[in-house]
């Protein structure tokens, strides 16, 4: 049962991260492989704010802002200019790998290689339906629920959300229908970047100790969750993240914990091979 509890927390962190990641892919068609490096940079900003005597939960705002601003800058000054050149989609992916190296190791050059951790207490423990959860873990789950409800409300009930969905479905058609797609894309990067920053910070809090390269392979879990639900599908991302998060932790209880992420890899490769548009997604027209 405790593994299910861990699974829920991992799933909550992953869900926040994947929703942001898939929103970026939906509106810009870019697989932003630098996402993990922005997560960990945001976590470190939160950490430094926290080190200056601010409680971790307030410091988290610093991480959210870092994620939002860094993602916006990344899109505005790197991805958009490259996309305007009409290059093969793979070029932008390679660029994102380059940015990932710069982000991760630039951070490492500044903060060094040591592990750090937030100054906070785990809070009291609570029993829920047989699960033992700390207040930290409960807050993470609460944040995740808030994010999912918020994104749902945004997409479903606001003009901005509708414009985002329209831009994602067909950018040219959206532009011709009078939607300011550039504005929509920038806003999406701000929002998804904020989610990235939030995810990075709660990822680091949940991990306990972390260092500059801790999120380097997190991108694999993100990709697995996104492809499981269907690339560019926010609701699919929620489903995918929860499935992958729970499955990896629960499987850790039965097999060697070192292999726990293997299930994510296998899911991702199987999805790419058999249903690259996801379980719920569908084949797209050109």
């Amino acid at each position: 049962m405790s593994s299910l509890g861990f699974g829920l927390i991992s799933a909550a962190v992953l869900a926040i991260a994947t929703v942001g990641f898939t929103m970026q892919f939906a509106v810009t068609n870019v697989l932003n492989l630098a996402y993990g490096s922005i997560m960990i940079n945001s976590a470190f900003v939160s950490y430094y704010v926290n080190q200056h005597g601010v409680t971790a939960w307030v410091a988290l705002v610093g991480g959210v802002l870092t994620g939002a601003i860094a993602s916006w800058l990344l899109n505005r000054f790197i991805y958009t200019p490259f996309q305007k050149r009409n290059l093969a989609p793979i070029t932008v992916v390679i660029v994102s790998l380059g940015v990932d190296l710069m982000g991760t190791f630039g951070l490492q050059a500044i903060v060094g290689g040591g592990y750090v951790s937030f100054t906070q207490n785990q809070g009291s423990e609570y029993h829920f339906a047989g699960l033992l959860l700390s207040s930290l873990q409960l807050i993470i789950i609460g944040l995740c629920a808030a994010v999912l409800v918020g994104v749902h409300g945004l997409l479903k009930y606001t003009r901005l959300g509708k414009a985002m969905r329209a831009t994602s479905a067909n950018r040219n058609l959206a532009r011709n229908s009078g939607i300011k797609t550039n504005y929509i894309i920038s806003t999406t990067w701000l929002i998804s970047g904020a989610l990235c920053g939030l995810a990075g910070t709660v990822f680091a809090m949940n991990a306990g100790v972390f260092e500059a390269t801790s999120a380097q392979l997190y991108i694999v879990l993100l990709l697995a969750a996104m492809f499981l639900g269907g690339p560019g599908e926010p609701y699919g991302a929620m489903f995918g993240a929860i499935t992958i998060g729970v499955a990896t932790e629960v499987s850790a209880a039965y097999i060697n914990p070192d292999y726990k992420d293997v299930i994510a890899f296998v899911v991702l490769i199987a999805m790419l091979m058999f249903r690259p548009f996801g379980i719920f997604g569908s084949e797209k027209t050109n």
Binding site: T91, L101, F105, D261, F265, L268, S282
Partner: protein, 612 residues
Amino acid sequence: MPSYGYYVAIILVYASVDAMACLGLNLEFGVAGISNFGYIIFQSAGAYAAAVLSMPSAASSNGGFQKYVLGWHLPWPFPWIGAAIAGGLLAVPFVFIVGKRLRGDFAAVGLLVSAVLLNVLVKNYVPFLNGDAGISLVPAPFQSHFNPQNLSYQFAYGAVAIILTVGVYFVVKLVTESPYGRSLRAMRDNDIVADSLGKDLRKQRTSILILGGMIAGLSGAILVQFITLWAPGAWGYAETIVLFAAIIIGGAGNHKGAVLGAILVPVGFEEITRYLPPLGNPELVPALEWVSIGLLIVLFLWFRPDGILPERRRILSGDKNAPAPAPTVADDESDALIKIGDLQKLNFRELLRLGEPVNDHRVILSTNALTKTFNTVTVVSDVTIAIHQGRLTGMIGPNGAGKSTTLAMLAGTLASSSGQIFYEGKDITSMPSDKRALAGIVRTFQLASEFKKLTVLENLVCAIPNQSGDTFFGSLRGKRYWGTEDRDNIERAKEVLEGFGLTQYADAYAGGLSGGQRRLVEIMRALLAEPKVLLLDEPMAGVHPNLAHKIGDQLTKLCEGGMTIVMVEHELSIMDAFCDPVIVLAEGQVLAQGTMSELRQREEVVEAYLVG
């Protein structure tokens, strides 16, 4: 200064290993367009294979302090041969990921993830390859006869490594500069179009992944028997990015560029940092190294995307001294000035291998209740049509009527949701598009689909079917095997080019032509694929009306010569002038068919489409 000599010998070996790995990756990425983000595991697989093939059995060596499989204790060169085989075999499962229909960036991510997965597995499973600790005490070749620490031994090792790298250079060059290499580059520039011209993408990608994997495996073997140890930590996925950086900086698609990149990036970075004094925290220098590699990738892709040594433009016209024609800006006005040469002088029947004209107007291509559904939207519904041999059949309808989708299903670019397609009496519904192209059904595309980084002449020649140099093994047999035939093919393409009045652009990159010129290139290319049925998707879109009518005249002549053409077109004047019969589609269904004058009499057709 003996230490100086050792240093040079070591550099020679490292440079050869990196250069060889970069040549393999350049063949995959720069030539065939496969973004193999997992490339490094092919190198490590080769290294492990060489290690366990050359080592004595795990139990007998040093009291069995490390665990590994095999331990066959084979003499050189068998471990290296085994390494190449291991690299090639490892490529086989990857073929499923780079399969035909997966977008390039998705496939790249799949390869990246597979590489990470294998690394995790090997690190954590001790009995296979000693887990995270890796394997040490890998024997150097002939170490019982010579002292591997000897300077002359190390130089000899370096010399063998260089010779093998030069050999690899000639092999990749042989493949790249053959008709097969041309097809690989066509696939790199636009895989869907290459597929529609009869190129078997899966086969092409398989052959290149295997060859690239063998090269990577060999390079790993050379490294591991030199440094005599190998640990999984040394092949994290980021190492692949270093090799990508080398190729992007050196010049993707140019094998000399790959070698240059190998010397500048992996070797250069490694050596420069040796001379840096220790700075700040111990992670600082390696971290800055990674930052520089990331930065270099981004800067090069922005400022010099073709690298230091860009891919060479292939001059096929034979006029080596011809100045490169200035790239024309897309300009519709300039299209009006294109003078189509006197096509009547061309012997189309011979050039296009049309055979004797049969013109019996039999049904050559037909559909039965053809339907296409995307998600829940039915785009084409129950379309039953018959295309008659030797006719120029038009297909019109308002936007969204399903014309292009129908055409794509006829060509096999899109799979139908239900219904059948018959060609020459045979059911071809499940035949893949490349096979249909070889059987004689060739299509063009609505959007520009030239192979940008192939010259106009290369665009044409690569479409010619059944070239003996256009197979993997054919390409390895060299120019003596396919050279004569290729010269004939080039001459054929040049004649067609002359007929269409574009001779002066023969050696220009097709990507630099104007819109109308690119349309012509596409039509010529489709013709050289020797179609029996030619499917044209809005060939006149964006083409000046004068030119459009000239093209129309030629299409009519082709039909008289025995070709069957189906043309989707919006321009009614084109339909009036050239097409008979015309099929009207509306909302995914066949609304009417007949001659244009008949159709104009019919109220429902006029209402659906002809008004305005």
